[in-house]
């Protein structure tokens, strides 16, 4: 039995989610290889990957068609690499992992388990269902097990001294049914939301986009990321990609500060795994109080500037 982890990278670095997926792979206790796919910068990424603890061999698929990764182009590559004898295929449950792995599953005629939060054994896995209100244990009956990994449930793999092998692999196919047109990426100096040590999130109580600066200033003082509830995103106070919750990012930082967030079950599903939760809310009875370690009942427009000053 062998495991293949599908790597993702951004700005020349493996993503935090990939490092968590490697940790999940190591927990399977099988030989683990990492597949790095990309354009020009993939060579440096593979070199970095070769030093990650737990990675036996790094496979490098480099080509112009992978400069912008489309699921339709990489699925044939992944399926052909898997056919060389891998029994387990893991990827971060990122927007790319969620887009690609189901296509690989259908091509191999096997099922797939999404958002795995615990490895029980080589064929049995846990994953949250119903907005985290239940934890299901599933046994995979297929010869190849495909899993996306909930990165917040696994620590990030670290680097070590010894360089593993890097092997070039071929594959992939330029799909004719899809064409990359463009992208708009949010440029931020702050840490990535899903792997930040501290997250400060604002909700409907922030009342406006301008007021969100109060949340940002506290986040910056703590070196943390900024998050938002769905209500805040829907009201236009914060961009989509900052949404924390069942349908947004799942986070589990050391410290989560929820400001003006009532705590709908969909929001709690995205952050209740945080180590320490602080809620700042005017309503002492808000559902967020049920998961908060520290509840400060206060006007957030007074509390946030005071907090910024006290840090």
């Amino acid at each position: 039995m062998r495991t293949l982890v599908i790597a993702e990278h951004a700005a020349g670095q493996l993503t935090a989610g990939t490092l968590s997926a490697i940790t999940a792979a190591v927990e399977l206790g099988l030989e683990t290889d990492l597949l790095v796919i990309g354009g020009q910068d993939a060579v440096a990424v593979a070199e970095q990957a070769a030093f990650i603890q737990g990675v036996n061999r790094t496979l490098l698929a480099q080509g112009a068609m992978f400069e912008k990764i489309l699921p339709e182009n990489v699925q044939p590559l992944i399926s052909s690499v898997v056919a060389e004898g891998y029994t387990h295929v893991l990827a971060d449950a990122s927007s790319l992992g969620r887009s690609v792995l189901p296509r690989v599953a259908a091509s191999l005629d096997v099922g797939m388990l999404s958002d795995v939060s615990k490895i029980v054994s080589v064929d049995t896995f846990q994953r949250p269902i119903y907005a985290g209100n239940a934890i299901a244990t599933f046994q995979s009956l297929d010869p190849v097990k495909l899993l996306t990994i909930r990165s917040s449930a696994f620590a990030q793999a670290t680097s070590q001294q010894n360089r593993g092998d890097v092997t070039a692999v071929d594959g992939g196919k330029i799909a004719t049914n899809v064409r990359f047109v463009g992208e708009k990426l949010t440029i931020s100096e702050r840490p990535e939301l899903s792997s930040a040590r501290v997250v400060v999130s604002g909700g409907r109580g922030m009342q406006s986009k301008e007021n969100f600066a109060l949340v940002e200033r506290v986040a910056d003082k703590l070196g943390g990321a900024v998050g938002a509830s769905r209500a805040a995103v829907d009201s236009g106070f914060a961009p989509n990609d900052l949404q924390v919750g069942q349908t947004g990012k799942i986070v589990a930082p050391e410290l989560y500060i929820a400001v003006g967030i009532s705590g709908a079950i969909q929001h709690l599903a995205g952050m209740s795994g945080s180590k320490v939760i602080v809620a700042i809310n005017q309503d002492a009875e808000a559902p967020i109080a049920q998961v908060a370690d520290y509840m400060l009942v206060a006007d957030l427009f007074e509390a946030l500037p005071a907090l910024e000053k006290a840090l």
């Binding site: 969620r98 259908a106 995979s140 009956l141 899809v178 520290y294 509840m295 400060l296």
Partner: protein
Amino acid sequence: MKVLVAVKRAIDPNVKVRVKTDGSDVDLNGVKMSLNPFCEIAVEEAIRLKEKGVVSEVVVVSVGTSAAQEQLRTALALGADRALLVETSTLLEPLNVAKYLSKVIDQEKPQLILFGKQAIDQENNQTGQMVAQLIGSGQATFASAISYADGNWLVEREVDGGSQTVELSVPAVVTFDLRLNEPRYASLPNIMKAKKKPLEILAADSLDASVKEHTRLVEVAPPPVRKAGIKVGSVSELVEKLKNVSGVI
């Protein structure tokens, strides 16, 4: 042009599910069921495309038990033209559902196939992508805007760290995120009219899809409960606790 929208009957989003005491599954006995919210968005978008004159027919399809007729009627009341139910109570895993749907697509030959990005019960987020693979189509997951130009579908999608635009040839598979639109309410006259719209039931066995069991549910448990927290009286008390008790700052 025809659009096919795949929909799922799921727990109502306002209901908090409970786990059965024997840990065998969640307890859906007597629980309110609805059209999965993401599927509702897909239905709404299909109807808007029809209202804009981009598509001429909206067909909704579900794979599930006879009870899913209720959700198909809901979609008809919102404005879909006709409905199909692939009736089965077993092996409702994403790949199997995708295989049934691809058989329906073979028969219906739609130019666009729409999905919600995930259902709020099992949260798999797989079926649309699997259908795209099975029928050899391009896909756009997490879509936040869709338009039709020069024979292709132009779709903006939400990705980690921003948004991306892709162009898909026909037939295309698109799965929708929440922010695409605000679904309408069905009016009473439309609910009455929906009762007369065609709803065809297909026996799953008749579709000749090679379905089998891929995953087996072993156990369902409630999530771990967090320890009760404390109220703090001031910002300075909060900072003191975070520093000295929790040690996180």
